[in-house]
């Protein structure tokens, strides 16, 4: 089973009210290191077979038409998730703790 990961973020010039609320809450828990938060979306698209170039192209099209709205959001990445890797660890290249 293959998986394609699509990441969508609000455009930099669009005020992100959710991120603003999160950055306001962090210091209340003692996290004073973070001066800004922007909140985006991550989609994991599953396919029955391999992730072929055609599948990736289709995922890119889906990302541009349905998964994001180009007026307010950017598609940051459309990538294949490798089979054994922890999908959530892919973005940073480092596995998250098991």
């Amino acid at each position: 089973m293959g998986r394609v990961v699509v990441e969508v973020m609000p455009k930099p010039e669009i005020l992100d009210p959710q991120g603003k609320a999160v950055v306001g809450a962090l210091p209340r828990l003692g996290f004073t290191q973070f001066s800004g938060v922007r909140q985006g979306k991550r989609f994991e698209l599953e396919v029955d077979g391999e992730v072929t170039p055609e599948i990736l192209a289709a995922a890119q099209e889906a990302a541009a038409t349905l998964l994001s709205n180009p007026v307010i959001e950017d598609v940051v990445s459309v990538t294949e998730a490798t089979e054994d890797a922890d999908v959530a660890g892919e973005a940073s290249g480092a596995p998250v703790s098991a």
Binding site: P10, E13, L15, P17, Q18, A21, L66, N69, V71, I72
Partner: protein, 249 residues
Amino acid sequence: MSAIEPTPAATSVPGIEGARIGVITFPGTLDDRDAARAVRLAGAEAVSLWHADASLQDVDAVVLPGGFSYGDYLRAGAISRFAPAMAAVVDAANGGMPVLGICNGFQVLTEAHLLPGSMVKNDHLHFVCREQSLIVENARTAWTNEFRRGQQIKIPLKNQDGQFVADERTLDELEGEGRVVFRYDGWNPNGSRRDIAGITNDRGNVVGLMPHPEHAVERGFGPASAEGPRAGVDGLTFFTSVLSSLVHA
């Protein structure tokens, strides 16, 4: 305080008998019945349309009502925009048919690219519900021709994702072409760019706005007005406007 007289139903406007206005219901639509009622109070026939039906049943105009279609999942209006009925709405709108998007319906119209810009969460993050004062900026559209430019009206507003956003170039175009139809008056309730509450397309047949005209159409059930509490019927003018635009089309 004096009792409020109910509005006589079906005021007779010459030439509009037989006008049929469709109201589309999506899964999660809330205000379709109110919109249909507003259509009837204006003197036209309300036709219920279902999102999964590709036919608009030969209606003369269409209302996309408010609510939370598909639970606002993904983005408000994003999934509804691909409903079979919407392909027909886009075709009809491009052919000049009057289309009104209210609240969630406005969000669907932006997702369908019939109107520019988009709506994001209110800047203060709270759901807002109030009687909202607006200034009519464009009284030449299919849905506003019985207002006058600069007129102050009051209709209910209730939303979570009501902050209208667009890039500066698009906003300048909207202003330059007179396509800002309504602006919030007194207080901007959601952080919308340039206090914009509603806009139109270049032809003036497609109008979208966040506040709810269909909730201000009958004395006794509307916002407060100079006439008394709950006496405001400013919303009815949207529906009588479209009837007069159909007569003069």
